[in-house]
Amino acid sequence: MVKNTRNKGPARFIFLVLCSLIISGCGAPTYPKNKIYESVVSLCKKEYRIDVDAKVTGNTVAVYLPAENLFDAVFNIDPIASKKINDVILGISRVVISTDATLDFYVVIAQDPKMPEVEIVYIRYVDDVKRFLLGGLSRGEYGKRAVIAIKTPPQAERERIIKELFDKLNIKDADELIKGYVEAEEPISGIGEISYWNKKFFIKEVSTSEFLATQIAERIKTAFREDKDLNKWYEAKTIDGKFVENPGGEGNFVFTVNFSDRVAPLYLESGLELGAQAKRALVFTRLFGIVSETLRAYRFKDFGNAEFITASEKKVITKEEIWRFKEGKTKIEDLI
């Protein structure tokens, strides 16, 4: 018999190395679900030297960042504060992607402790972070998928109104009463009300539908600002997006798009004036396009219609029409 004298050492070694690598991948998650709060706080403290507060509500984790001198005199974000915000975003991102907790969204609220009446609220979908890190999203698209708002905390607004009312009624020393009144409020109803006020989180579980509604509204605002054709003819006023649940069936997206005609086009290339119908087609082409692209990108199908309310009309299109429009099977003329 011919003896097989082949050295099997290298093959065994490679096999062992591969096994070791695979086993090393079976380790526990870095940030366990029962320690999310501690993980976020200690990570920000240890790695970025930033003190933060955090709260987990269902599928959403919120982080409060006290950033001194958040805004400068002309209301621009201070670069040092901006870096802190980015560090916290990075920290919370690391936690939410390496945990076994079911976290779908994270919220970062940045406030200047000396001026808590203005805050920055940053909301992100955790899957977007993962997809971006795995190269599934471009940097530009990743930027568009964040919901960012600079606003006054609704609770602050409410407190101010009550305070003014008490002043008018000449009721003195009513601080405790006002505080109790504000804190006794009903839970917040929408993601627009997510806030931090008087060392307390006002937070709710973010749903994909309302997150998408807000994101789409943000995208529409951006389109009115950056789309050459839209910007030429129109000026956006208020744009709002919400998802209205329907107890009897699928919910609907409702977009309120208030814009006005420019007195004169911002610029004229050909010198030709667009007709009213053509302008209408232009607006709805962009609106339908943004909605269909965003919903398709998230593969979101749990809705019935999308409703667009402008100053002059209300347009409703069904989910099927949105998909057909996206696929180019339905023309804008057939929808409007």
Binding site: V2, F13, V17, S20, L21, I22, S24, G25, G27, A28, P29, T30, Y31, R94, I97, S98, T99, K130, L133, L134
Partner: protein
């Protein structure tokens, strides 16, 4: 104390392995540690990308190897290893024509292979290797096949060049694979023949080069030596037959020693008798004119190998088919020989004057050659250009000669000068057509005087070693007077030969004129036509 020494020796012997293993373990440990310190998402992401990375590395490596092989190595080629069952080889000893001595030696080998067991019982040792030496096309492969067929054992045939690769170690690995297969076959069938053709590409002397040149060849040869020795230890009935047309002196001594290539079989070009047999054998496979004198063909095919003869017959059959003949004629065979020896005819446009001068030139060669050459026969004279020559006279020795006498060499010079003399006698001037003739005549005369001691003085010895072979430094050892004398003698030989040729042609000028007329009319004259003309003048050769 002893165990301490053992450990020390173990470390000295295996330090490279130990270093590699420790390094590999350290790198692996670091990799695992690095992974374990990563956050779970990044760790999983890294691990998930490993298969993709491996795939990409493999793909890149494949692309690199493909490009390298395509651009630098002339494409991919599998190891050309042909396994043939001995009884399926359709070549028997009866098919090996001629080479009786070689066949006899080969037959002995066959008997040894057949009686392997009996030989072992009486303590004899089986032949391990047979080296077949000889010029190309003489039937080495054919004989090896015949051995395999008669011995009825499997036959692995391959070319030695297919072992050698650009990567050192590939050839050795291929040798191992071939012998591994041969041993398995030998175990199953009682023996196996490994035939390595053109073995010189791995069997020439091993050497050392600072640039690493020849390393692959050397390592392949070393492996072949090891495998042949290995066979002896395990006693598998594997016989290696190697064939080469390189001189035996070029082969590495280690290969030639007993125990490796025990037997050497010399397969030379066929003799007149063998050529006749070969012509008969190959002609039997085609339809031919029964009037063809095969003996004459054999004479004409002096120094031709069996492969040449097979080619002549094959080519003649093609010519006959092209000329719409249903059998091969002497003309077809002659044309085939011409095509192989002289190349395809190429008619150049020549003025009548040029043509006549060429005819006189060739007739001069022809008459001198026919009348006084002691060893050669004229087979053809032509004024149609071949291979750049405007005309030529084809001649060959009547039989295989391995040495040339002084008289033959002098006649060679006279024949070379025949064209020059004929031109001069007719036109009282000469042409540039003599250039090659003069080179030949001068070279022969120079060699006779400088190297062969055939001059007319008492100077003997090979003065050539002081010339080109010894280099300029060696040439300076030769006295000027000696050089002068040698050169004078060279010229003396040339002058004497010139006079002899002039005398001969003057005497036989009417034959020259006759050949000129014939050549201008027919352009080509064959052996029989030439012989017939000389016969007219009572000058024919005795047969």
């Amino acid at each position: 104390m002893r165990s301490h020494k053992k450990i020390k020796i173990f470390f000295i012997e295996h330090w490279v392995k130990i270093l590699v293993i420790v390094g590999a373990l350290a790198v692996t440990a670091l990799a695992i540690w690095g992974l374990s310190t990563m956050e779970s998402f990044y760790r999983n992401m890294t691990l998930a990308s490993i298969p993709l990375q491996l795939l990409m590395v493999a793909l890149n490596a494949m692309i690199f190897v493909y490009m390298y092989m395509t651009v630098f190595r002339g494409g991919f080629s599998k190891l050309d290893k042909g396994l043939i069952k001995g009884d399926k080889v359709a070549v028997g000893f009866k098919d090996v024509v001629g080479m009786e001595e070689s066949k006899q030696e080969a037959w002995e080998v066959v008997e040894l292979i057949r009686d392997h067991r009996r030989l072992k019982q009486i303590g004899g040792k089986i032949v391990r290797g047979i080296l077949m030496l000889g010029p190309p096309g003489c039937g080495k492969t054919y004989l090896a096949k015949a051995i395999a067929n008669e011995a009825k054992i499997p036959f692995i045939s391959m070319s030695a060049s297919s072992f050698v690769e650009v990567f050192v170690g590939v050839g050795a690995s291929r040798v191992r694979k071939v012998f591994k297969q041969a041993r398995r076959l030998a175990e199953a069938n009682g023996g196996c023949i490994v035939f390595i053709d053109e073995v010189d590409s791995i069997a020439t002397r091993r050497g050392f080069s600072y640039l690493g040149g020849g390393m692959e060849k050397d390592s392949t040869q070393n492996q072949l030596l090891a495998e042949m020795d290995g066979l002896k230890e395990k006693d598998y009935n594997v016989i290696v037959i190697a064939a080469t047309n390189a001189p035996e002196t070029e082969l590495d001594e280690a290969l030639k020693r007993p125990g490796r290539f025990d037997r050497k079989i010399y397969i030379d070009k066929p003799s007149l008798e063998d050529r006749e047999k070969l012509f008969k054998y190959y002609m039997a496979k085609v339809k031919y004119d029964p009037l063809i004198d095969i003996g004459r063909l054999a004479r004409q095919a002096v120094y031709k190998t069996p492969a040449d003869i097979m080619n002549i017959v094959k080519e003649s059959a093609l010519i006959a088919t092209r000329n719409k003949r249903d059998m091969v004629t002497l003309k077809d065979l002659t044309e085939a020989i011409d095509r192989i020896d002289l190349g395809i005819k190429h008619r150049k446009f020549m003025t009548p004057g040029e043509k006549e001068m060429v005819a006189y030139h060739e007739s001069g060669h022809l008459v001198v050659l026919y009348l006084i050459h002691p060893t050669d026969d004229v087979f053809k004279a032509t004024i149609i250009s071949h291979k750049g020559a405007l005309g030529l006279v084809q001649h060959q020795p009547k039989e295989e000669l391995h040495t040339r006498s002084k008289e033959a060499l002098l006649t060679d010079i006279r024949v070379s000068l025949g064209g020059y003399v004929a031109e001069k006698m007719k036109y009282n001037t000469t042409s540039s057509g003599v250039s090659q003739d003069f080179k030949t005549a001068m070279a022969v005369a120079h060699t006779m005087v400088w190297s062969l001691g055939m001059g007319e003085s008492n100077l003997v010895g090979d003065y050539g070693i002081y010339g080109s072979e010894g280099g300029p430094a060696a040439a300076s050892f030769l006295a000027e007077s000696t050089k002068e004398q040698l050169n004078k003698e060279t010229q003396h030989i040339l002058q004497n030969c010139l006079k002899d040729t002039e005398v001969l042609l003057k005497k036989e000028w009417n034959i020259v004129e006759r050949f000129v007329k014939e050549l201008l009319g027919k352009e080509e004259l064959e052996y029989d036509e030439i012989d017939a003309i000389f016969k007219e003048y009572g000058k024919e050769h005795k047969k």
